[in-house]
Symmetry: C2
């Protein structure tokens, strides 16, 4: 009844191991509805993170639990799904095993959904000076550093050093960079405005650096121009066509010999696939992404799939499918349907369907009541785009409680210009001060 | 017009330095309404913490920002108040200066409101194995350890070790211990119940250890008995008349040779005044509290006051005023009124009024819909006490946003039996595993 070339199906329910419970891994577990397979999902965090709102945690608008949900809690009603909190240390595709630091998992099918990490273009040493924004820890660290920098500025007698402390530089003009720049400009101009006695937070500089000719290259030029105009109105300095030459402690060297002193540099310029892909022994692109087959399986390994940010697959338009959450979720559903059919013996042929990406559009928000959005052929901006952005993010934010809490926070912030999550934990004021030029002789913060 | 024996009032507005922005320090800043003095308030955190709800952060019911508010934000409309985020390193009462790690503050009046720390009765080495609950970091660490312990238990093949991981011991049967025990019992029995596949969280042991003959000695015996019965119904094991002899890595030695193996020991048994009081050179009690004059000033230093947990003062009933937030707030208002009168020259006599403590009652909540309360001569329990507890905590929780967010969380948790803040940050699963006997040979977690 059931036959396939390379895969032998065991008599007991096959075991599917899913690595990663981001948008890809979690959607796979939810979309695979049949009880004909055991699923084990492994993540190194106990929570699924709603990454599109991560920048609001970094800019003190939301608290960490509001955009995260325990993975166990999301999957509690799936008796055939086991959640395992652990770190993957190795993979053996020939032996079909995944090695965790706390044991070994054999699999019949493997779904790689480990996502991406911040990419520094072969300059890993920049990470300590210019943190990226990928995890809740990243977001909390950025929030901590910037709030501490304003505190330091309040007590700093030297105007040069004070201006360094009050300068925020964001490298990378994609959606994350644009959203961070807008949110920081509002934080300084509206939220912190009346809280200090000696400094005027409105004098904070927010600088956005983009290597390409314009912001938001994912969007049509007209919308990108709207976004840039809105950022400029908020006081953000935009430097396009500008490459970063070096990142040092509290300063940035740019093309053309320009230099910016800043205690708060944030890296939103690049991503790379999870470094675990290098252990697979299959062809990768420069960013470490797996060159998958059209069905998303690995070359030579039909029982292994890669989905989400770590898979490189080409869309119908000949361009690579972008590393965004809707793409990861579509890939997850594709593999879930494909495996459901194979496991239950319903797949009539031995050729698998190819993955087809449907572009649902792109959007970015720029501070209060402004956004730009492209949905299909539709382009819009300002209030309507912002309303659409709000609605879409709420619909996708997993878990009712989080939705309600986020609505509450947003409503409150909107009317009061206050932000609720300006709380720093895990930092003693003196030990954890942000880096600035005067500190150069001392131990770097990254070592602390 | 204005005369006083020992204090000379400078012609420019006097400078009042307030150390600590807890209930005492913050209330002082809010109650001192005249602009006739400059006030500088120093805290080592950027936020005021609503300590009575801290146990709910530890037990994953609330997120950290929900019970904390930036000090700057609370005091933004007081132009004569300056907020300074910093750690006090030394005090010089003769020179009238406070030394911070980032500078020196001279003062005309000093208000010490530094609060208390967890006290280990001359066993500081127990702190690493049995953390206390005083700060947001403490609460987040307890939450992290216990959620990690359940994850470890899920993957632990050894039944002895598994039972150690699933045992939570709380030392100290005061309100904090009782509230923690109730909340942990509910966490295991209701919230985590369906989330695991191999362990049954309902089999978790929650043990409450009290050295005295009964729980809640602050309350009448009848109410304490009600609380004990309610805890027992939730499955909490109560050991009264039981002293802790030793705390070791993952185990507890009790009087009579009894021993409990537990990966999760929490210390709620004692408090001591902030150790900075030892630098004052004035008489202290055994817990390090300052023996203040009836007006709350320090012996020999009428310009220095101690309020809140670090002051030892006797109430009208001859008993020491307890270290609770209403007492700290009453002391703050007393000193604020007294200094307002002195600074503005309104104080007619050279004798200052004595502080009079008004006991507003005591209450403790025990899990879902149960509490015990004494307000004046009134004693009540069950639903009515719980409703009173809710109302009073909401009224005092500073800041509208927090109130609304907490109401939302509580309503949601009440109807769904889910908790919103089961999010662990700052921990990699493998590096940060909780201590248990099998780990004894390895490095202790406290060192990590």
């Amino acid at each position: 009844m059931y036959r396939m070339k390379k895969i032998t199906i065991p008599m007991d329910p096959p075991h599917i191991v899913v690595l990663g419970a981001g948008f890809g891994g979690l959607t796979f577990c939810q979309a695979f509805r049949q009880a004909t397979a055991r699923i084990t999902v492994v993540d190194r965090q106990n929570h699924h993170l709603f990454q599109p709102l991560l920048y609001q945690v970094a800019t003190a608008g939301l608290s960490a639990p509001e955009i995260a949900q325990p993975i166990r809690s999301i999957l509690r009603d799936r008796p055939n799904v086991t959640v395992r909190w652990g770190q993957v240390s190795d993979l053996d595709l020939d032996q079909r095993t995944v090695r965790l630091e706390t044991g070994t998992l054999p699999y019949d099918y493997l779904v790689l959904a480990l996502g991406s990490v911040t990419g520094y273009f072969n300059h890993p040493e920049w990470e300590a000076e210019a943190p990226g924004l990928k995890t809740l820890e990243d977001a909390l660290q950025i929030r901590r550093r910037i709030l501490l920098a304003f505190e330091e500025a309040e007590n700093c007698p030297d105007p040069v050093q004070r201006s360094c402390l009050m300068t925020i530089v964001i490298v990378g003009g994609g959606p994350t960079g644009v959203e961070l720049a807008g949110a920081f400009a509002e934080l300084a101009r509206h939220v912190l405005r009346r809280d200090f006695r000696r400094i005027d937070p409105r004098q904070a500089r927010v600088v956005l650096i983009e290597a390409g000719p314009r912001l938001l290259r994912q969007l049509p030029p007209r919308l990108a121009a709207k976004a840039a105009a809105r950022l400029s109105a908020l006081g953000v300095e935009i430097h396009a066509n500008t490459h970063v030459e070096t990142v040092r402690h509290g300063e940035l060297q740019l093309t053309g010999g320009r230099q910016i002193e800043s205690a708060n540099i944030i890296w939103a310029a690049g991503v790379a696939a999870n470094p675990l892909t290098r252990k697979l022994g299959v062809p990768l692109d420069r960013a470490g992404r797996v060159l998958v087959n059209p069905d998303l399986s690995l070359p030579g390994h039909p029982e292994v799939f890669a989905i989400g940010d770590l898979a490189l697959v080409t869309g119908a338009d000949g361009r690579p499918v972008p590393g965004v959450s809707p793409a990861a979720m579509q890939m997850a559903r594709h593999v879930a349907r494909l495996l459901e059919a194979e496991v239950s013996g319903r797949s009539g042929s031995s050729t698998r369907p190819s993955f087809v990406y449907r572009d649902r559009g792109t959007m970015a928000t720029i501070g209060r009541s402004a956004a730009v959005a492209q949905i299909g052929r539709l382009q819009f901006w300002g209030w309507p785009a912002w309303a659409a952005w709000l609605l879409i993010h709420l619909i996708f934010l997993i878990g009712f409680r989080n939705k309600a809490a986020v609505v509450l926070q947003w409503t409150y912030s909107y009317f009061t210009y206050k932000l609720g999550s300006r709380i720093v934990t895990g930092a003693e004021p003196a030990q954890n001060r942000p880096p600035h030029p005067a500190d150069k002789a001392g131990p770097s913060e990254a070592a602390a």
